[in-house]
Symmetry: C3
Amino acid sequence: MSNKFIWTKKDLLGLEYLSAEEINHILYTAASFKEVTTRQIKKVPVLRGKTVVNLFYEPSTRTRTSFELAAKRLSADVINIAVESSSVRKGETLIDTGRNIEALKIDIIVVRHSASGAPNILARSVRSSVVNAGDGWHEHPTQALLDIFTLKEKLGRIEGLKVSIIGDIAHSRVARSNIWGFIKLGAKVTVCAPEKLIPVGIEQTGVHVTNDINEALEDADAINVLRMQFERDSKLAFPSALEYFKQYGITSDRIKKCKKNIVVMHPGPINRGVEMSSEVADGANSVILEQVTNGIAVRMAVLYLVALAKKPTSSLPAKVENM
Amino acid sequence: MSNKFIWTKKDLLGLEYLSAEEINHILYTAASFKEVTTRQIKKVPVLRGKTVVNLFYEPSTRTRTSFELAAKRLSADVINIAVESSSVRKGETLIDTGRNIEALKIDIIVVRHSASGAPNILARSVRSSVVNAGDGWHEHPTQALLDIFTLKEKLGRIEGLKVSIIGDIAHSRVARSNIWGFIKLGAKVTVCAPEKLIPVGIEQTGVHVTNDINEALEDADAINVLRMQFERDSKLAFPSALEYFKQYGITSDRIKKCKKNIVVMHPGPINRGVEMSSEVADGANSVILEQVTNGIAVRMAVLYLVALAKKPTSSLPAKVENM
Amino acid sequence: MSNKFIWTKKDLLGLEYLSAEEINHILYTAASFKEVTTRQIKKVPVLRGKTVVNLFYEPSTRTRTSFELAAKRLSADVINIAVESSSVRKGETLIDTGRNIEALKIDIIVVRHSASGAPNILARSVRSSVVNAGDGWHEHPTQALLDIFTLKEKLGRIEGLKVSIIGDIAHSRVARSNIWGFIKLGAKVTVCAPEKLIPVGIEQTGVHVTNDINEALEDADAINVLRMQFERDSKLAFPSALEYFKQYGITSDRIKKCKKNIVVMHPGPINRGVEMSSEVADGANSVILEQVTNGIAVRMAVLYLVALAKKPTSSLPAKVENM
């Protein structure tokens, strides 16, 4: 990882499609942008005159706000398009929407969509850069990048670390991007959830699978605790949030048995008393708010790199291209 | 048309109220702004410190986004106000809303309203410039200006061209603004639709009227194909979208019988397979995405001209003023 | 009041917590910002690189727009977050939301909330500055500051003036902030409403209370007429809007019996024919639109002062801090 690396991809679609070197280059770039956000004037003119569209097919406040801030701190102009009801787009297809946005001379489209692979389709249809802000249960690459950035900042490295991802793995794009990213950088990844929340075949990604929370916590250098969505997907797997908390919730008692400096991450927003107790969320091991801070720096890096990609090449490997 | 023309109108309310010379001056100004949007830094400081309010009483993504981008590329600040439910404005009248916006020292109000003539009322009530972004079935002047700009860019002139407007003429503000604009610049305009979608007395504007699609296509230099709104207004006139497509839809077969370089326009979003086939929409004669691109340049020109109008005069002729 | 005063509070939570000297310093600062809004380029770079979040838990167009414009005219970046349904925040607490926003390195949070005291809680939880844009029936300090600014601009002073606040005092945060502000600056304040719309114990703030509109108007130098919300809170107190207008509505006839230069204020939007006739709203004594204009200057002053507070101290007196 050095500043001699030349970034060539026009899009960021998922960590599956990036090399370790590319991931490290994003982290390296994010570190220098993080310094910007500590200045009195938290703004650099590197994307002045560029335009970013936030095209959100699912409601989002946190991710949209983080991208909007990142773009503004790079001096780009930002347009928010919330596409929550089909009537708004009058039935226009994703590709037609993309081509119309491209025709507006938009440099970067940040897209969130309920369909896995939607950003890939968009990226192939337009010359604008496409950044995936979460697609179905597929990937949420900037979330994983900020998780990795935060952990590396905390422990100095990723390689050789033992990272456990705990929660609804089956319905989590955050889990999927985390797995790709941490494994590519040489961490040992365990996923831990009730049986019904483990997707079939997940072992093939190289992760260790367990249903036992104690096994997941033992020797872990870091845990990434996923949000349980009892109001949505997770409800099928477990009788109640209370039951889940009893069996899998991260409590002070459980943390006391872990490595002393175990790093506790969570993508937010936290369900206090469901996947994690308040003591842990606000405790000394938690880096949850640092993750939020680092999200800006990581997204600044991603927007900057894709917008200024040298000799841009396809962002997907040939196999995926020919899907 | 030259750069010696001095623009004096504070508002853009409709093409009905503009002279051919004024329309040409907007096109001339738009051409120079189009160049700006091809630069690396797509931004000029001409409206720095000015404020534009997008006051939309009807939902809109495309037109609002285009105006927002145009304003930002002129370095203006933009505020979006979506007034979709009466509760938001707590029953305030249009004139009170306008005077409040004026009191905020807003330079330009871009307004879309379901009532024909609403922008005219607003323009008479405030010193701020008012730009009509679509009012009822009355006018959508910037759409017509971008249609004219695109056709002129493609064919080098407007005068003497044969332009056919096809679709729901009765419920289309786009049609109305197109008719005013093209006729003032010397084109021969035909409107073509099923009988029930032709407004009574439309011949008085100087257009030729037909219900026969073949007559509309024959000898046409350009066609402007309107969106059919079978979910709304158009449904009364025709049994089904399929039936409409069969009788009036623009297909490759129909295009093959036209002039070789016939220009195909559509204000978007397209109903593929209703008013136009995908082959035509994406084909060599289509300039639909160029229209989107040109929309930015035309709106930059309009915002620039009304904001910096010299010795501003009333934007409406005396007759209309005294309505 | 001079420019040697040093502002130290990081927040603006209510006029209850400010000294007369602090209120006067805001007015003094607002006067210089008002001059900015009369320039061709209505913008100063004093908050460049700072970020303002408008965090609105209640819908608002007027106040949100005014704060957004104020921030942009100071060259700050602005992010709007509308939290109208709990689903948007997925049940996150106010404090968690605040800490997340703080982690985004936001300089100022402008908050509107239906719960009285919510901004106080937020201010204690974050290092970011917090500006109250209206909380429950508690305070709406920037509205009162712009009322005071406008009256002082008109009559040259506040001390010794007789100011009557007329309308639904019980359910009005505007009334409460007005009372604190005007009394601290030495005005004599009368509140006038039907009995049921006078909150219990209001006399303890030092105001004179009456149910008689004639008494409230007699000798008044200024009146601040509140919006009657017959669709909400006010309906319990009175049979109908028409009945209210007859007994308490400000009409030309009533104004004729007042001091010749009586100043008529209203926070907007006006219910014409309910709390005030159109003749009065648009008449020579009305400063209602000047209030709107001054709102920008006052909010620019507040954002500027809290963002650049020297040696920031707590914004609440010890008593409130320890609540």
